[in-house]
Symmetry: C2
Subunit: 372 residues, 2 copies
């Protein structure tokens, strides 16, 4: 069960407003998806995710395959039931993770042999197996098993990765067989325009219900990523959702939206939170710094999340310095709320035909008073 | 502001039903107090504490003095405001902690010189200073600065500790000067009946608004602790609350109530939770054990806490094995809920004049099917 409805397109940029309907409910786009690698968004409860307005989360196939295992999750009634999250879930294919293993993996046309980062045990992921694991997990949106080249990367290497990604996408599609789950294709091609074009063209022919743009936010300068988006999103079907993988800084989210992206995910907001850094309307703030030891203001005076409504920077700094779990919880709640709230404001601005103005104002404020 | 009302006393044992009224609200006794050492009950938010029915929490003066410092907390508006907990707080005096430092401390009649367990810096706590720190924190109930001997301990050593504790109690009382906060005395005396008697007698003369029984649960066998309670609580004034320090196992709570204790605290439920162990109506359960990997029941099928209402043993085990914060949160919620719920049932049973029967039934079930 899957439907994408395009409600509105900005006149002065490529921003779009839409809804995605899945078996587990409807998602308003553009949307940011919090990452719940191991069937939990680190430090958050499902109830808290719900309260901050999370509409869909992402979970990682590679990690869940290794522990607790997709068989166990399937026996538990699927990932939604296992983790008690009733709204939509997108799973990645594990492609990005296994390719990131470096020396621990060996790629052949058939798939990738790799060693677990936990215990060194040997495993094999093929396009079919990655798809099978995702079917067992029962996510609403599954991803094809792609080959994601690093940055920088020689053109010839990227070309080979694109061709293999295309062949593997077809194998995933042929293998995929699940009533409620849909499979998105992933465009590769690094920062080479003709390779992005050939990748997009080949995948669009396969008629996926949605498309991800992969292989970005892997170390390239942001202007280069924006350039790739500039020529890639226009090639993607207008009536299908577009998902930019691994992007979660406020500036990149806003640029992505302006360039026609509907979905984003990133571990950044939760990871920096556990490190004592928060995003605020006035820019980033490293709350663990000594400067905030006696600062009794909330993390972000403009925010109404649970952390900002009830606790001071001084308290949260104390908790984080003392390694107290509540500290990590509060910064995580705040950062996720901040990005979800940003996307909600983005949707409102698109609705009211003032997105570019909103984007400029937001970035001016965010960059103007950089703190920490 | 402080009032203790005794509503009922059991006919067949020393169990009592009461209410304590403080500046931050009323507490139903007998009560278990969750421990929030560093101005946070580890892994819990104040909202969650509220939801599981916590009426009062304990916080540790020694730890807060070292970080973030009582001055900072005072400037934040006091401990309640700093940690956003609007209900009553009891602070210990730091006595137990500094005496536990072993080689790191030196005791004189004036007080205790000690080195911080964090950075080795040198500090000095006197009865006056321990009281001053607690006044700055603004807890509802403060404790006198006592000398807590270890177990086992020679009679002569314990005698000296009792005498010093008495002198220090008077100094705390003389120094204490706070409108809303009250000071409880602490009875010492180890397992020596005559020393408990002289300690109790001396403190009762000072007319504290409440009395703690200290120096128990420090390694002595439980029957010995029960014996001390048997002769100590009857010497304490009937119309004042009695607090048994550091006790939090279900059996000891029930025995303590039967012997006339009104208040308890212990880090045990939160500490074992973070270790993957939970208390259930059928006994302890080590949910991190492999036996629960595919157990899709709740931690305790008889429990209605957030953890048991929404998650399985298999999921919680997975989280804890993977070191995920939500795992520690769920076991902590459950264990604290379990003890608070137990005390609520205890109060109900006393009200309905069937406490001893309740106690026997509970312990039979708790011991009968020990798991893990």
């Amino acid at each position: 069960m899957f439907e994408f409805k395009l409600h509105k397109e900005a006149a002065d940029c490529s921003a779009r407003l839409g809804t995605i309907t899945t078996a587990h409910g409807t998602i308003q786009t553009p949307i940011f998806m919090p990452v719940g690698t191991l069937a939990t968004v680190k430090a958050m409860s499902p109830r808290e995710l719900d309260e901050i307005g999370a509409q869909i989360i992402l979970s990682n196939t590679y990690h869940l395959y290794l522990r607790p295992g997709h068989g166990l999750i399937h026996d538990a009634g699927g990932l939604h039931k296992f983790m008690n999250w009733e709204k939509p879930i997108l799973t990645d294919s594990g492609g990005f993770q296994v390719f990131s293993l470096g020396d621990l993996r060996k790629i052949t046309e058939d798939g990738v042999e790799f060693r677990s980062h936990i215990d060194g045990s040997k495993h094999f992921f093929s396009p079919e197996h990655a798809t099978e694991v995702q079917m067992a997990l029962g996510s609403d949106i599954a991803m094809t098993f792609d080959q994601c080249p690093p940055y920088p990367c020689e053109r010839e290497e990227v070309r080979k990765a694109v061709d293999r990604t295309t062949r593997w996408a077809q194998r995933c599609l042929d293998f995929h067989n699940h009533d409620y789950q849909v499979l998105f294709g992933i465009v590769q091609g690094g920062v080479y325009r003709d390779l992005r074009e050939s990748s997009t063209e080949a995948l669009v022919k396969m008629d996926f219900p949605g498309y991800a743009i992969g292989g970005l936010s892997v170390g390239e300068p942001k202007p280069l990523m924006y350039e790739v988006l500039d020529y890639t999103t226009p090639m993607l079907p207008r009536e299908k959702p577009r998902y930019l993988m691994g992007v979660g800084t406020p500036d990149a989210l806003l640029e992505g939206v302006a360039k026609g992206v509907d979905m984003f995910d990133c571990v950044l907001p939760t990871r920096i939170a556990r490190n004592g850094t928060v995003m605020t309307s006035q820019g980033k703030l490293v709350v663990r710094n000594a400067a905030y030891a006696r600062d009794f203001q909330p993390l972000d005076p403009d925010c109404n999340c649970y952390a900002c409504s009830n606790f001071s920077r001084a308290y949260i700094r104390h908790l984080i310095k003392a390694n107290e779990i509540l500290g990590f919880r509060l910064t995580t709640i705040h950062n996720l709320h901040f990005l979800l709230d940003l996307m909600s404001k983005v949707r409102q601005a698109i609705t009211e035909e003032r997105f570019l103005q909103f984007k400029d104002n937001f970035m001016r404020q965010y960059n103007g008073e950089q703190k920490g």
